[in-house]
Symmetry: C2
Subunit: 562 residues, 2 copies
C-alpha cells in the first residue's frame, strides 16, 4: 500500500463526485476545519472496523498491518487503485498472484465510487516507480483536488487579496493598470528566458522575467503611476518550488524615493490583508544589508524569533584557546555566538552532535551562522518549543545593498547585484568613479518570515549615468538596450518601483507547504503539467512555419565531435 | 517630404522633452481638445510664415509646395529628419545633391530640438522604403507617443473600465479571479499557436489561444464562478489590426443558462461604462443567426442605422424582367433590396457606378448584400450624411448559430462552427443523431456597432455527449483531450461562459482607429516591436538547451528537393 502523505493533508473535504456515491461527505469538511483549529487529531478510528484513516498514514506506519475503508477514486491498468475517505487518499496495490485471483477480480471489476474495505501492509512507494512523486496524483487530477476545502480557500483568498490590492492602488492612489507584452526581446545573457520562435527564419521572441524595461518606459511616457498583476517567466529547469510561470504585483512610480515606495507597500499589505488573520502592523522595521548579515547571517532573516548572532570577539581577545586565537589573529577575524534559549533543557546529546556536524559540513561558508541559526530552530521545534508561530507575520525591509558584486567566473569584473538599472545610493555616487565595489544601491528587499517576498529600487533616470554603468563598469553591449537609453535621453522623471512575488506571498499568508497549493494549475517540479501531459511533442510539419528543427541530444554530441 | 498622416492625429499634445526645448507646448494640448470637440479645423496657419501644420498634411497635398515650422524631433543617418509641431510630425528628406550642401550641413549639424523652417514639395513615401508604414515611427518612439493626450486617455480609461468590471464580478457577484497557465499543451490542429521549446528534446509548450479548457476544468473543480483578464496568444502572421498577444475578459459560471450569461454581461457593461459616455441601455436586443443574415447580410451587423435588406420577391413574382425571372425560378431564389434614404438626393452618378462595380466584384458571394449596405453607408457619409453616430453604442446579441459547418476542404465532413465544447440547442439534440448539420448551438455572440466584441456558449457537461461529438461527428483524436473527458466523467455541473475581446471593446469605446491605440506597447502589422527590434536573432549556444536548430528557408527547399 502506498501512501501519498502530501495528498492526505489537502484532500480533506473532497467534494462529492456525482456518480454512484453512496453517501455525501460534506459533513467531513466542517469536521476537518474544526480539527485544524484544535491542532489535535481526534480518534476517528475508534469503535469501527478500520484501523486508520487514509489521510493519517505517515512514514511512521511503514510495515504496519492496517485496515482502511473508503471509496474507489480511480483505478489504473488493474495494477493499483486509489482509495478515498473523508480524510485523504491512499494508493492500494492490487495483488497479482494466482492465490489472490478472487480479490483481484473484485477490485478490478467494482465500479469507481464503490465502497470497499482493504487490509494490507503499509509500504513506501517502490523505487523507480513510474510516478515517483507522491504529489503527482494531485496534479494529474487537479480538477478533483480543486474541490478540496484547502484549494478552494487558497484560491478564493488569493482572488480577494489581489482585488483589495487593486482597490488600494487604482481607486485609492490613482495607479494605472497597464498590460505589458510577454512576447519581447531577449535580454543580454538572459539564459533563463524561454524562447518563442517567430515565422521569420532565425528570429525569436523571448518571454521576459519581468516587465522591468516596460515599466521604466511607461514612466518616460508620463504614465506616472503604473501597476500590473504581471505574468512572468523563468526557465530554471527543475529547481524545487519554482514555477516556469509566476505572478508578480509589479509597481512603478515617478517622482518617488525609497521611503515613498516603502510606505506604499506597507499600506498595500495592511489594506489587502485577510480579515481572518491578525492585522499587519506598520511601519515595518528596516535594517541595512550589513546589519542583517551581521545579526542573522542572511539577507532574508526570519525575525519571528531571536537567537541573534553576537560578536564575542572582545571576550576572547586574551584567550589562550588555540583555535580562537588563530581566528582572531586573522584580518577581520571574529568570534561569534548564537545563544539558544533553554538549549540545555531541550537539546539532547545527539542534537549537539548534529549541530557540530552541520557546522563542519558548512565550514568556511560565510552563510554558516545564518544556516546554523535555522538548524537550531528546527531542532528546538522538534523538541516541542514553538519558535516560529505560524500565525505571526514578521515583515522586514532590508536596504543599502551593494550596487555591484564581483563576477563569480572572474572576480576582477563587476556584475549588478540586482539589475543594471538600479540607482546608486545618493551618498555613494562619487564611489562609482573611484571604488565602484564599495558603492551601495537604492535597492530594497521586503522579507517576511525568512522569505524574500519582494524587491525593488529607485532607478537610474539619467542617460549618461546609465550608459557609464552599462558600458564602462559592466562592459555590457549597450546596443541591445539602445531603446531604453534613448528613452532616458528624451526626459525621464526620477522613478522607482517594486515587485512582490504573489505566489510566495499567498503561500505564506495561507500557510501552504508549497506555492503549488496557491496556483490553480501548477507545473510539477520538472515543469510538467501532469493533467494534460505538457510539454508534448509536435509533428515536424508544425515546426516548419517557425524554421526550426529538433536536434536530439545525440546530434549535439555528434556536433561536438566535429 | 514624407507625411505620416497617422502620426499627426495622435501626436497632438506631445509632452515636452527636457533637453534643449525653446518653449513649452502644453498649451496646444487644450487647443487640440477644443479642436476635436468643434470638429472643424481652425486656420492655424493664418498670419504666419508657414503654409501648413505638420499634422495637417494629407494625400490631397501631394505635389504642393509647403512651408512648415517646428522642432527637430529626430534625425537618421543624415538622410532624413522628423519635424514636429504642436499638431503632428512630418518626415523631411535631407537634400543630398552638391547644390544643397549648405542646407544639408545646417540640417545635419543642428541639435535635436532645434527650431527650423522647411520649404519643399509634399511627396508620398517612396516605394520600397525601409520603413514603409507611416505608423512605424510612433511605435519606434512609443515612450514619447505615450505622452500624448490620446494615449494617456485611452490607457487610463482602459484601466478604470477593467477595474469597474472587476468590482462588478468580484465584489458584487462573487466571481473568483483565477490565473490559468499560458505554457500549455498544443491543441489538435492548433496551427495558430506559438510554440515554446522546453529543455526536453522534441517537447514543446504552446501558448494557448484562450483558457477554454482551464475554465471548464475550474467548473468541474467546483470554483462555481470564474473570471480572468486573460492574456491570449494567436499567431496569425501579418493579419492587419490583430496582435500576437491580446486580452480577453474571460468568464465561466456553473448552473447557468444562456439568458443568465446575457444578463451578467449587460450588467457588467452597464456598470463599467465610462461616465463621459451615454449610459448603456439594457437589455440588449437579440436576433437569431438566421435573422441577422436575412436582415443585414452579416452575423455582426452595425445596427446604428437601418437600410435593412428586404425580400421583395413577391413584388416580382409575375415580372417580365429577364434576370429577375431567372433568379426567382431557381430553388431558394429571391430578389432583395436595400432602401437608401434620400439616396437620390445625396448619391451622385459616379456613386451609383461604384455601387454597381462593387456588386459585380462581389457577385455570387452570399455576404454581398451585407457588404453593399456598408459600402452605401460609406458613400452617404462621404456626402455629409451622418449615418453612424460615433457617440452611439448599439449592442446586439446574436444567438442560435449552427453547431457545425461543412469543412472547407471536404464539405461532407463537419467541423465545429465555434469549438467542440459548445452545447447543442436543447430543442436540437435529437438532430445530432439524424441530421447534425441542422443542429443549432447554444453559442451567442455580442456585437457592437458592427464588430464582434464577445462570444461564448453553454458547454457540454456530459462526457458521453462530448465523446460522441468529438469522436463520431468531428472524427477528432480524443486522446489529446482525455483529461477533459475524464474530468467530465467525474461530475461536471452544467456550465457556460463568455469571453469579451478587451482590446477591441476599448478601441470602440474610445473611438480609436486601431487596437494599437489602446495597447501600451503593441506590435506592428508584422508582429514586430519596432522600439526594441523584436523578434531578434539568438546565438546558437542559447538554442542548445532547447534542442532546436534554425532551418533557413533554403534548407527546407533543399529538403523538399530530396
Amino acid at each position: 500500500m502506498y501512501f501519498p502523505s502530501w495528498l492526505s493533508q489537502l484532500y480533506r473535504g473532497l467534494s462529492r463526485p456525482i456518480r454512484r456515491t453512496t453517501q455525501p461527505i460534506w459533513g467531513s469538511l466542517y469536521r476537518s476545519l474544526l480539527q485544524s483549529s484544535q491542532r489535535r487529531i481526534p480518534e476517528f478510528s475508534s469503535f469501527v472496523v478500520r484501523t486508520n484513516t487514509c489521510g493519517e498514514l505517515r512514514s511512521s506506519h511503514l510495515g504496519q498491518e492496517v485496515t482502511l475503508c473508503g471509496w474507489i477514486q480511480y483505478r489504473r491498468q488493474n495494477t493499483f487503485l486509489v482509495l478515498r475517505d473523508f480524510d485523504g487518499l491512499v494508493q492500494v496495490i492490487i495483488p497479482q498472484d494466482e492465490s489472490a485471483a478472487s480479490v483481484k477480480k473484485i477490485l478490478c471489476e467494482a465500479p469507481v465510487e464503490s465502497v470497499v474495505q482493504v487490509s494490507g501492509t503499509v509500504i513506501s512507494r517502490p523505487a523507480g516507480q513510474e510516478n515517483p512523486k507522491t504529489e503527482a496524483l494531485r496534479l494529474q487530477y487537479r480538477y478533483l483536488d480543486l474541490r478540496s476545502f484547502q484549494m478552494q480557500y487558497n484560491l478564493r483568498l488569493r482572488s480577494q487579496m489581489v482585488m483589495k490590492m487593486r482597490e488600494y492602488l487604482c481607486n485609492l492612489h490613482g495607479f494605472v493598470d497597464i498590460e505589458t507584452p510577454t512576447l519581447f526581446k531577449r535580454t543580454p545573457g538572459g539564459a533563463k528566458e524561454f524562447l518563442v520562435p517567430s515565422r521569420e527564419p532565425g528570429k525569436f521572441y523571448s518571454l521576459p522575467q519581468s516587465p522591468q524595461q516596460f515599466k521604466q518606459l511607461l514612466m518616460v511616457g508620463g504614465l506616472d503611476r503604473y501597476f500590473q498583476v504581471a505574468r512572468c517567466y523563468r526557465d530554471e529547469g527543475s529547481r524545487p518550488d519554482r514555477q516556469p510561470e509566476f505572478t508578480q504585483i509589479d509597481i512603478e512610480m515617478s517622482f518617488v524615493d525609497q521611503t515613498g515606495i516603502q510606505s506604499l507597500i506597507e499600506g498595500l499589505l495592511q489594506y489587502s490583508w485577510p480579515n481572518d488573520k491578525d492585522p499587519v502592523v506598520v511601519p515595518f522595521p528596516t535594517m541595512t544589508f550589513a546589519e542583517v548579515l551581521a545579526t542573522y547571517g542572511t539577507d532574508k532573516p526570519d525575525t519571528r524569533f531571536g537567537m541573534k548572532i553576537i560578536d564575542i570577539s572582545d571576550v576572547f581577545r586574551n584567550t589562550e584557546i588555540g583555535f580562537l586565537q588563530d581566528a582572531l589573529s586573522k584580518p577581520h577575524g571574529t568570534v561569534k555566538a548564537i545563544c539558544i534559549p533553554e538549549g540545555a533543557k531541550y537539546l539532547k546529546r545527539k542534537d549537539i552532535e548534529s549541530i557540530r556536524n552541520f557546522a563542519a559540513d558548512h565550514f568556511n561558508q560565510c552563510s554558516l551562522l545564518g544556516k546554523l541559526r535555522l538548524e537550531c530552530a528546527d531542532l528546538l521545534e522538534t523538541r516541542g518549543v514553538v519558535l516560529r508561530d505560524p500565525t505571526l507575520f514578521s515583515f522586514l525591509w532590508v536596504v543599502d545593498f551593494p550596487l555591484f558584486l564581483p563576477k563569480e567566473e572572474n572576480p576582477r569584473e563587476l556584475e549588478s547585484a540586482h539589475h543594471p538599472f538600479t540607482a546608486p545610493h545618493p551618498s555613494d555616487i562619487h564611489l562609482l568613479y573611484t571604488e565602484p565595489k564599495k558603492a551601495r544601491s537604492q535597492h530594497y528587499d521586503l522579507v517576511l518570515n525568512g522569505n524574500e517576498i519582494g524587491g525593488g529600487s529607485i532607478r537610474i533616470h539619467n542617460a549618461e549615468l546609465q550608459r557609464y554603468i552599462l558600458a564602462t563598469l559592466l562592459k555590457e553591449d549597450v546596443k541591445m538596450l539602445s531603446h531604453l537609453l534613448q528613452a532616458l535621453d528624451y526626459g525621464a522623471p526620477p522613478h522607482g518601483g517594486i515587485a512582490l512575488g504573489l505566489d510566495r506571498l499567498i503561500c505564506l499568508v495561507t500557510g501552504s507547504p508549497s506555492i503549488r497549493d496557491v496556483i490553480a494549475f501548477p507545473k510539477s517540479f520538472r515543469g510538467h503539467d501532469l493533467m494534460s501531459n505538457t510539454p508534448d511533442s509536435v509533428p515536424p510539419e508544425e515546426l516548419k512555419p517557425y524554421h526550426i528543427r529538433v536536434s536530439k541530444p545525440t546530434d549535439s554530441k555528434a556536433e561536438r565531435a566535429h
